[in-house]
């Protein structure tokens, strides 16, 4: 449904902060929004049926807190014992949505509900880093998560010590510390990254391979299965006796191209995933098709992280760069990723993982 699109002044993105893992040292002095003649369009003026945001960067976080509490009110907490060690599992990617404050609030509120309503006394944040373990020491204090979790916070990465998980498809490996708990709480977001890539077929499960797993299992996910069926790997981990014996519940922040739309939660991750998949298709499918109609453009990526993970209107730059074919077509056995000829240039306004030349020292003579 096309509404009446207007041209608006450039939207102000959340400010960039110091980030060693993103920039080596300093954030870029200038961003795309600072360029002359840059304008914005409102996605709800393009598509009136896109779900309206309930929270955007700068809004009162009480909205997110209330949504999280409401979602968790429907979750059975009886599996949690007072002395259970509870790992609240989170993924760095969640902080890439609209400045990250909303995801941090979901984490804080989930912890508070576990303490105040389930009576848990041993709740810790298990923070999965994505590209560099430098993310942990930067982001945890940036979002005051160390204070919220009373110092009970740790971060981990894919090279950390593993633990075998025997599944329906064979032996896989998780990160030992992530799973070292009596109860696991999976706190994620609907993850519109890569919806053009994994066909919205298990988006909420991906963390079990790409956040909480050792590098061996991540490599299996990407190399031993095509994208259409790869999410059987995290599904098998989630369904394993190992995880089910420790399982608590899942929480997911939801979004549309307009912003954060709410919070959902469920003991049954598969049921939650199906609701999220439905919302992703409704809210983002039309945006994917819109990007495919662009005749000519320049793309500027000036948030942190690599191109596939830089959001704009919820979608990542790759949804534009990967060409105009229908990546949601489940009848395609393989996706032929081609460079979108409409993109005349891609400007990357950041570095990642200490690769900037200023971050590498030189031996003195």
């Amino acid at each position: 449904m096309i509404a009446t699109p207007q041209i608006h002044p450039a939207a102000a993105p959340p400010p960039l902060q110091f980030s060693r893992f993103a920039y080596g040292r300093d954030a870029p002095a200038m961003r795309a929004a600072d360029l002359d003649d840059i304008v914005s369009v409102d996605v709800r003026e393009l598509f009136g049926d896109v779900e309206p945001a309930t929270w955007r960067f700068g809004d009162d976080l009480g909205i997110v807190r209330a949504a999280t509490e409401a979602a968790l009110a429907n979750v059975d907490l009886s599996r949690f014992g007072r002395d259970d060690k509870v790992n609240v599992l989170c993924s760095e990617h969640g902080f890439s949505m609209m400045g990250g404050q909303a995801y941090a609030e979901v984490l804080r509120t989930t912890r508070n509900v576990l303490v105040e309503q389930a009576g848990c006394t041993k709740v810790q944040l298990a923070f999965s880093t994505a590209g560099s373990k430098h993310e942990g020491p930067e982001l945890i204090p940036q979002y005051h998560l160390d204070e919220a979790f009373k110092g009970e916070v740790f971060f981990f990465g894919p090279s950390d010590r593993g633990i075998p998980i025997d599944t329906d498809i064979g032996r896989l490996y998780g990160v030992r510390r992530a799973y070292s708990a009596d109860r696991l709480v999976h706190v994620h977001y609907d993850d519109p990254r890569e919806i053009h890539f994994h066909r919205v077929n298990g988006r909420s499960l991906k963390s079990f391979t790409m956040s909480y797993a050792r590098m061996e299992t991540r490599s299996i996910f990407h190399n031993n299965f095509p994208t259409r069926s790869a999410n059987i790997v995290p599904r098998a981990i989630y369904e394993s006796d190992f995880v089910q014996q420790r399982w608590g519940f899942a929480v997911s922040m939801t979004s549309s191209p307009d912003g954060i739309t709410g919070v959902d939660a469920d003991v049954d991750l598969i049921a939650l995933d199906r609701r999220i998949g439905r919302n992703l298709l409704r809210n983002y499918g039309k945006m994917l098709r819109l990007l495919a109609t662009i005749d000519e453009c320049f793309s500027i990526a000036d948030d942190t992280r690599w191109i596939p993970y830089q959001h704009a209107g919820g979608l990542t730059a790759c949804a534009l760069l990967d060409g105009p074919e229908d990546h949601l077509d489940l009848d395609l056995a393989e996706i032929q990723r081609t460079n979108n000829p409409a993109v005349k240039a891609q400007i990357i306004n950041s570095a990642w993982k200490l690769v900037g030349p200023r971050s590498v020292g030189r031996r003195s003579a």
Binding site: M215, E216, I220, H222, N224
Partner: protein, 225 residues
């Protein structure tokens, strides 16, 4: 193939002798001497895993490589027939790029089979992030009969979970039927018929299974969706 650009240096005063850096090094470039980490610079590929593992101690820093090295096994040194056969048994085409970071090919790894750390030194595979390429590398080594034995405390690689035995070629029928959302049979049939091209990643070539089935994989005839 990979050209090194960086190495690491260790600040002894900050090293606590915890051994964690050794357990993430893909090339055995680190060792402990008198409870201090020591780097063999000519074996360091500048992957920076040890730098991350050393948080919060910060004893390891990146350094521009004073003598950049080319990690490469040139094609004119390959036994072409053996390389082709090994790649087919690992479900690759020899020119498949199996390492997202270094673009090292399956053929190059097949030509350089050795213990996993030495293959990195010979080809550059695993020299950067080391994550996406691990399963392809281990598949080729397993097809070549190279065993990777590691003591329980060593977590550089877990050979029993490294992707040799878990792939679309090996998913049991019960699991395929249990999780029908994931079209394993259809994808497997496509991979057997023509090979499956994966975005960014090496293709999956299962044509060989039609004549030499994997123990847990059905034949092409049984697997037609």
């Amino acid at each position: 193939m990979f050209q090194t650009r960086a190495v690491i240096e260790i600040t002894d005063e900050k090293c606590v002798g915890c051994n964690v850096c050794i357990n993430v090094c893909p090339t055995d470039a680190l060792r402990m001497e008198q409870r201090l980490a020591v780097v063999t610079e000519e074996r360091c590929t500048g992957c920076f895993k040890c730098i991350e593992a050393c948080i919060p101690y910060g004893a390891i820093s990146p350094l521009a490589d004073p003598e950049p090295r080319l990690l490469n096994t040139p094609e004119d040194q390959w036994d072409r027939a053996a390389v082709d056969d090994l790649c087919a048994r690992a479900y690759f085409k020899p020119d498949d790029s199996i390492c997202l970071c270094t673009r090292t090919t399956a053929g190059e790894v097949a030509a350089a089979t050795d213990v996993v750390e030495e293959v990195t030194m010979a080809t550059g595979v695993r020299a950067v992030c080391g994550m996406w390429c691990l399963s392809p590398l281990m598949r080729i080594l397993a097809a070549a009969g190279v065993e990777t034995d590691r003591p329980a405390k060593d977590y550089r690689v877990y050979p029993d979970g490294a992707g040799v035995d878990v792939g679309i070629w090996s998913v049991p029928d019960e699991a395929i039927d249990k999780y029908p959302e994931y079209p394993i049979r259809a994808d497997r049939a496509a991979a057997m018929e023509r090979g499956l091209k994966l975005p960014h990643y090496p293709s999956i070539q299962l044509q060989r299974l039609a004549t030499a089935p994997h123990p847990t994989a059905p034949t092409a005839e049984e697997d037609t969706p």
